[in-house]
């Protein structure tokens, strides 16, 4: 009986999707995206798209053609096409499923069958995820072939995209289902789900930014600590120098300006950096706490990246993609003798600018990859389970 009813509900969901133009439009567009993906080729340092060619020094970017294809699949195929475009189409297409299901005349028939309300609702909910499941399965299967045939890398791990995408979409769809159930409105379900997604996006952006700022500030603080030690050492050297000979002359020149005031200024800078670091750490901890209770859409999708690309490879790609010399222009926080412009300042300044982007990229990668799969998926599914529990409670208690 359970198998019969579940199969019937899934079959019905397929027929419903089959009747919607957006479903097929999305499927066709998926085919076009895969075709575009397959049309990209590499030969002798050139990137070829159909008949067009452009130089692309992959090695300078820290990539092999295999990695490039994987990177392209991840960032364009998966994170852009599936996780953005297809997800938006899916939200629009599926928003009406629950309101239609509970509309008068339709729900009467469903409830009059020998199936419990909770099971009926959950099966209907699961069946609504079929849209994304079918889209992502077709896209991933085709992409797997493209990766193998064009990128010469057969990666079964790409099929992880299927469960990840379904889980990711379910985070959003549970909100759509709850709003649809409460308001019986397709438009409300669609808009609230999209707004919820936007809110999660902002929360994730805040998390990423805070990680970056925290990494910069941590770096600034560590340098400020070093600068304080350096200033104290130079002051001692200056006091001990007698100025005799070449060595004494050089020591006097190098340590010129290192007096108690310089040390005090360095200490002020260090303390300011520490304060900033503490503030950022506090805010970041709060942000992570909030994220813990909510679905982590981006991080769930990034699990595929974890599976496909190693940490070292990712660092190379991430840092090279930022370019060089485009770091922060604000140097005041990191230099103790800015008015003097001596060699120590120049050394620190140059080193910082060079490392800034690498630090940011590495910090984000390390932080995100340090978060366990259990935390990323487990807490997100916990949120979904909580929302579904509310849905089941509402659905079970309501009179139709």
């Amino acid at each position: 009986m359970i198998v019969l009813q579940t199969a019937a509900l899934f079959c019905d969901a397929y027929r419903e999707l089959n009747a919607r133009k957006l479903f097929w439009l999305s499927m066709i567009l998926s085919g076009v995206v895969v075709f575009a993906f397959a049309s990209i080729g590499f030969k002798d340092g050139y990137l070829a798209v159909l008949i067009w060619k452009t130089p692309l020094p992959l090695e300078a970017m820290g990539m092999t053609p295999e990695t490039f294809y994987k990177f392209l699949f991840l960032n364009f195929g998966f994170k852009f096409w599936l996780a953005w475009a297809t997800a938006i189409i899916a939200i629009v297409t599926t928003a009406g499923i629950i309101p239609d299901f509970i509309s008068g005349g339709a729900i009467d028939l469903a409830l009059s069958k020998p199936i419990g309300r909770v099971r009926l609702f959950l099966t209907k909910y699961a069946a609504a995820l079929l849209f994304v499941a079918m889209q992502v399965t077709v896209f991933t299967a085709l992409s797997f072939l493209v990766l193998g045939l064009r990128g010469k890398t057969w990666e079964p791990a790409v099929f992880l995209a299927i469960p990840l995408m379904i889980i990711f979409f379910s985070y959003l769809y549970c909100i759509s289902a709850l709003v649809g159930l409460l308001t019986r409105s397709t438009i409300a379900a669609m808009i609230i789900a999209l707004l919820f997604w936007f809110f999660l996006f902002l929360l994730n952006a805040t998390d990423s930014s805070l990680i970056t700022f925290k990494a910069f500030t941590q770096e600034t603080y560590e340098r400020a600590v070093l600068n304080v030690e350096l200033a104290e050492r130079r002051k001692i050297d200056r006091e001990e120098s007698n100025g005799d000979g070449v060595k004494g002359f050089l020591l006097d020149t190098i340590t010129e300006g290192y007096d108690q005031d310089a040390i005090d200024r360095a200490i002020v800078k260090r303390d300011e950096a520490k304060k900033n670091l503490d503030t950022l750490t506090w805010w970041h901890a709060r942000t992570v706490n909030v994220k813990s209770a909510l679905p982590k859409t981006n991080e769930t999708l990034d699990l595929l990246q974890r599976a496909l690309i190693e940490m070292g490879e990712m660092e190379e790609i991430a840092s090279s993609s930022f370019g060089s010399g485009s770091g922060s222009e604000d140097t005041n926080d990191r230099i103790i003798l800015d008015e003097e412009g001596n060699e120590i300042v120049a050394e620190f300044q140059g080193q910082f600018d060079e490392d800034a982007n690498r630090i940011a990229a590495r910090a984000q990668l390390e932080e995100f990859r340090a978060r366990s799969i259990l935390w990323v998926v487990g807490t997100s599914l916990g949120f979904e389970a909580f929302i579904l529990a509310i849905c089941c409670w509402v659905f079970s208690r309501r009179d139709y």
Binding site: M1, L4, Q5, A7, A8, L9, C11, D12, R15, E16, N18, A19, D100, S103, G104, G105, A106, I107, D108, L109, A110, L111, S112, K113, P114, I115, G116, R397, D399, Y400
Partner: protein
């Protein structure tokens, strides 16, 4: 008010019960409910303690004006609405037991099928939901679509169906699990006269197959033609239930068709023969109506009329129609018979089209 509920099987044994077949025991009843109440949020009392008994193999009709609570009662039986209070059983199980629904077919009022399904797919889908295995579903779908006259449209999407076609399809899906009990909520709603006749035929066939049919309808003539027993519901309470014969027996009386072949005024002559001032005799347009149900009591009236040379064309026993019974019940219950009368006239017009 509860005390006024009258099951004709339990009262007036001198009138009809002696002629009735023995009634099944309570545990054999298909529907046996007692004190079913429903108060919606906002304090609206839809049902105020409904008692109802439906016997196996009978066609049972539930009558009532709009807002009487008929659909709420059916929805409670089908677990669509949760009762505030409910004592009773359906097919031997407690009301609300989902597993019982495998043996029940249901046609809801204002039913709505998914537009993207074809007629055949609708029957198949709801058959699967009722737990009917695929080969059986296919076979039944063929038979049932044929029975309701929808075979020709089986491959057409429901979105293109008329209301009457959807209603026929609804009847087919209600029967796909070969139910013991079929609840039909306004089965002829939106169906043309030919379709109504066909649905009556289907109901008759169900009865012949031993199924119990519960019809919820405001179409009195439909119920009169199809139902073995009826219940009248007013303002959330069943005020009367029994066979139509039982319910109308109380109103049984004799009527005379008479004429006068003299120059005398007919009404004056009849008035001189019978005492028209008493409440039991009434005369108008050649018809003498009495409230007398006993054949022996009308003999003196016949003698008196004949003594005045009044010609008696016919003497026939007559009873209230179901409509009269219904109107009286609604009026007594403080309902709105005007609305019901208007709707009945409208339905009658629709029926004649």
């Amino acid at each position: 008010m509860k005390g006024s509920i009258r099951d004709a099987h339990q009262v007036a044994p001198s009138q009809t019960i002696g002629e009735d077949p023995p009634m099944p025991a309570s545990d054999q009843l298909v529907i046996d409910i007692d004190s079913v109440a429903k108060t919606y949020r906002g304090g609206v009392q839809a049902l105020r303690g409904v008692e109802l008994r439906v016997h196996p193999g009978e066609v049972f009709g539930l009558l009532g004006p709009n807002g009487a609570g008929k659909s709420t009662l059916v929805k409670i039986l089908m677990t669509i609405v949760r009762a505030s209070k409910c004592k009773g059983r359906m097919l031997g199980s407690a009301i609300g037991d989902k597993s019982t629904l495998t043996r029940v077919g249901y046609l809801p009022e204002h039913l709505r099928f998914p537009d993207y399904l074809t007629g055949e797919q609708v029957v198949d889908h709801f058959g699967a939901m009722a737990g009917v295995p695929k080969p059986v579903r296919r076979k039944r779908a063929d038979e049932l679509l044929d029975v309701v006259g929808m075979s020709e449209w089986r491959k057409t999407r429901v979105g293109q169906y008329s209301k009457g076609m959807k209603q026929r399809l609804g009847v087919a899906q209600a029967l796909v699990n070969d139910p013991d009990l079929v609840l039909l909520d306004e089965p002829t709603d939106g169906v043309d006269p030919l379709g109504r006749k066909e649905i009556r035929g289907i109901i008759q066939r169900m009865k012949e197959q031993g199924k119990t049919v519960f019809i919820n309808s405001h179409l009195l003539s439909e119920l009169e033609l199809t139902c073995d027993r009826v219940a009248i519901m007013v303002k959330g309470e069943v005020v009367q239930q029994g066979t139509i014969d039982e319910l109308t027996a109380e109103s049984e009386r004799y009527e005379f068709r008479v004429s006068v072949h003299t120059e005398h005024d007919e009404s004056v002559l009849v008035g001189s023969a019978l005492d028209l001032t008493c409440e039991t005799i009434e005369y108008s347009a050649g018809v003498v109506r009495t409230t007398v149900a006993d054949i022996h009591e009308i003999q003196p009236m016949i003698d008196a009329l004949r003594a005045k040379q009044i010609t008696i064309h016919s003497i026939k026993p007559t009873r209230n129609s179901l409509e009269d019974l219904f109107m009286n019940a609604v009026e007594a219950g403080g309902g709105d018979p005007g609305g019901v009368r208007k709707r009945r006239r409208k339905d009658a017009k629709g029926g004649k089209r």
